[in-house]
Symmetry: C2
Subunit: 369 residues, 2 copies
C-alpha cells in the first residue's frame, strides 16, 4: 500500500487550468460539472445537488448555477452518473423485429408508460435472429439496465433454447426479466395474451355467420402463439362441427406475407376453397389477399377473413379487416409495472393473462351458398 497524491477538485485538466487561469479557453472541450462549479464559484457537490434538484441548495445559488448550465447547454455525463450511482433508470426492451408494427406498437407503449414511472427505455432489435438475441441480452446487461422486457424471439418459442435460459438465469440474479410469453424453467414475471380466446372469438364469429369451411393460415408450430391457436382451432372444429380437413390448417413456418400467399395458392391449386380464413397476423392476411385477388376472389363477397393483432395494416387491407385485437396499453402497463415493482423490490402479481377482443370491420359476412 502506498500513499499517492491526488489533486483535489476534479479531473486533472481542470485542476491545472484552474491554476493557469485559462478557464475561458474551453473551446470545443466538453463542458463538465467542474466548469460549471468554477464559473459559479461553488463546489461540484453544490452543482450536483442543484442538477438533481434535491432542494438542499439556496435559491440564489441554484439560480446562478442553472443560468450557467443553460448558457452552455450542459448535459451531465450519463456514463459517469450511472457509474457513480451503480444503477440506472433504464428498461431494456427487446423485440424480435421492430419493422413489424405489432412490436413497434408494443415498444412505443412501453416507452410511454416507462416514462410515467420515471424510467426510460432502450430498444434491442434482434432482427428475428436467435443468435443475435444472445448478443443483445449481453449488451443490455453491460449497459446496466434496471430490467429487461422481451417480446418475441426466444420467449415465443415452444421449447426454449437452453443456453438462452442459462444466460437469462444468470442475468436475473441482479436484473429483473419480464416477458410477454414464457421462457421454460425461468420463474420470471409474465404477461400472456390468451391466444385460445383469440381463436375462439374468431371461430365463433365465423361459425355464427354460417361458415363451416374455415382455414387457419400462417405461423410456425415452433412458436407458442401459432401453436396455441392451432391447438384451440382443432378443438373448435368439433365444437362447431366445422369441416375437418388437415389442409385447412396451414402452418408454413413463417408469418410473412409471402408465406400467406404461398399457403393460399396451394389451397386454391388443390381446389380446396375455404369460405373463411383466419390469418395468424396482418402480414399473412396481406399475402392471402394478394393470392385471392389474383384469382379473382373478393373479400368478403367470396371469402371472409379474420386477422390477428389489429395493426394499422388491418385497417388498410381491403375495406378493413375484422381482427382479433388486444389492449396494447394494458399489456405494456402490466409489463412495466411488473418490471418496476421488481426493480424497486415491491411485491406484485407475477402473471397476467390478457384477453383479446374482436373488432368487426368489413372482411367478414355469411358464406355465399
Amino acid at each position: 500500500m502506498r500513499m499517492i497524491a491526488r489533486l483535489q477538485g476534479g479531473p486533472l485538466r481542470y485542476t491545472i487550468s484552474r491554476y493557469l487561469c485559462c478557464g475561458a479557453a474551453m473551446g470545443s472541450q466538453k463542458i463538465t460539472i467542474y466548469d460549471i462549479a468554477r464559473e459559479a464559484g461553488v463546489s461540484i457537490t453544490t452543482v450536483s445537488r442543484a442538477l438533481a434538484n434535491s432542494g438542499k441548495v439556496k435559491q440564489e445559488t441554484y439560480s446562478r448555477i442553472m443560468r450557467i448550465v443553460q448558457k452552455y447547454h450542459f448535459q451531465p455525463n450519463e456514463a459517469a452518473r450511472i457509474l457513480a450511482e451503480s444503477k440506472t433508470k433504464i428498461i431494456g426492451v427487446m423485440v424480435s423485429q421492430i419493422e413489424n408494427p405489432f412490436y413497434a406498437h408494443m415498444f412505443i407503449w412501453c416507452e410511454r408508460i416507462a416514462e410515467m414511472y420515471g424510467y426510460s427505455t432502450i430498444l434491442a432489435n434482434s432482427m428475428g435472429n436467435l443468435a443475435y438475441e444472445h448478443k443483445l441480452l449481453d449488451k443490455l446487461a453491460a449497459q446496466q439496465v434496471a430490467a429487461v422486457i422481451q417480446f418475441g424471439g426466444n420467449v415465443d418459442a415452444c421449447v426454449s433454447d437452453a443456453e438462452y435460459v442459462a444466460k437469462v438465469t444468470k442475468l436475473m440474479r441482479h436484473t429483473p426479466f419480464v416477458v410477454s410469453g414464457k421462457l421454460d424453467g425461468v420463474r420470471c414475471c409474465r404477461v400472456q395474451i390468451n391466444d385460445s380466446t383469440g381463436i375462439r372469438l374468431a371461430v365463433t364469429h365465423l361459425a355464427q355467420l354460417g361458415h363451416r369451411r374455415i382455414a387457419l393460415i400462417g405461423g410456425s408450430e415452433r412458436e407458442v402463439p401459432a401453436y396455441q391457436k392451432a391447438v384451440e382451432f382443432r378443438r373448435l372444429i368439433d365444437v362447431y362441427g366445422l369441416c375437418r380437413d388437415e389442409d385447412f390448417i396451414c402452418i408454413p413456418g413463417s408469418s410473412s406475407d409471402a408465406a400467406g400467399y404461398e399457403c393460399m395458392e396451394r389451397l386454391i391449386a388443390k381446389g380446396k376453397m375455404p369460405s373463411a380464413i383466419i390469418s395468424i397476423n396482418d402480414f399473412v392476411a396481406a399475402g392471402v389477399m394478394q393470392s385471392l385477388s389474383a384469382h379473382g376472389f373478393s373479400v368478403p363477397e367470396d371469402v371472409s377473413i379474420i386477422s390477428f393483432d389489429d395493426t394499422f395494416i388491418s385497417r388498410m387491407l381491403g375495406r378493413g379487416l375484422t381482427t382479433v385485437s388486444y389492449d396494447y396499453e394494458l399489456v405494456c402497463s402490466a409489463l412495466i409495472a411488473m418490471a418496476v415493482s421488481e426493480i424497486e423490490k415491491r411485491t406484485q402479481e407475477s402473471f397476467r393473462l390478457v384477453e383479446p377482443f374482436l373488432i368487426c370491420r368489413s372482411s367478414t359476412r355469411p358464406p355465399k351458398n
Copy 2:
C-alpha cells in the same frame, strides 16, 4: 492540496473482501473485472487486455481468464468503459416515428451498416413531437454518443426551429450531426433524397400512360419532402399539359391514412375525379384507396395510383402499388459513412443526393376513356 490514502486494487469492497478471504461468497453481487482478476490470479490490467483482445496477453493466461469470464457470464460495465475511454462507438439515430415502416426500415439499415463499421446504434423515437425531439437530443448527448443521425422531424421542416438549430450547433462542437434532410444554418453532412426526381418519375409514368387529370395527395407544406414534391408537380403540369386544378393538389397537413381518406372524399364530393393519383406515402395511399373502394372505384381500372417510399405497405395494398422507391441501403450507407468519417476526423463528401427510381406494380394503367 492534501495527501490521501487510497487502497490499491480496486473498489473498496473487493479490496476488503480480499483481505477477509470471502471471495467465494459473492452471491448476487455483480461480478466485476476485479473478481475475475482475483480468481485468475492476475491484475485487472491483464483481464482488461484479455477482454479487449489486444493480443498482449500470453495464450495460457488468456485462456484462464476467458474461462472464468465464461463461467460467470461476465459483462464489463459499459458505463465504466465509456467513462474511462471518454468516448463511445455508439451512433444515436433519431427518427420521428418508429411505427412508420419508412423510418423503421431506415433504422434497421443504419443498425446493420453501423455494425459493419464497428459501431452500435441507439434509437431515439421522437413520436412526431418536436418538443420531445429537444429532450431526446439532450439525452443522446448525455449518453456520449459518437455521432447523431436524424431522420424526419426538425430536419424535414421547411423552416427550422431556431432553438433546435442552436442546440444542434452546440452539440456539433464535439459531436458530428448528420441528417437525411436539412437544418437551416447548420453546416452538417447531409443525404437528401431527390423528391423532384421522384415526382417527375411518377408524373412521367402517368403522362406516358395517357393521364392528364392527375392529383397529388398528402403531406404538409411545412415539410420539405411534400413541399418539394408540390413545387415540382406544379412545374410539370405545364411540361406535360396536365389538367390545372388547384383542387388536384391536396396538402392536408399530415401524411396519415386518415388524411388521405379525407382528401379523396373531398375530391369525390366535389365531383372532381382524377384519373390518376400520386400519394405522398403509403399511409396516404391506403386512405385514398379506402375512400375509392367505399365509392365503388377500383384500382387501377378506374383510377391509377402511385405511392412513395415502397414500404411493405405498398406491396400489400390492392394488387401491389406502383411506387417511387429508394435505395435504403445506399442512403444509410452514406449517412453512416459520413458519421464515421467525421468521428474519426477523416475527410469525406459532405452532401449526397440520392436519386429515387420507379417500381411498377399493378396500380397504374392507361385511363379509361
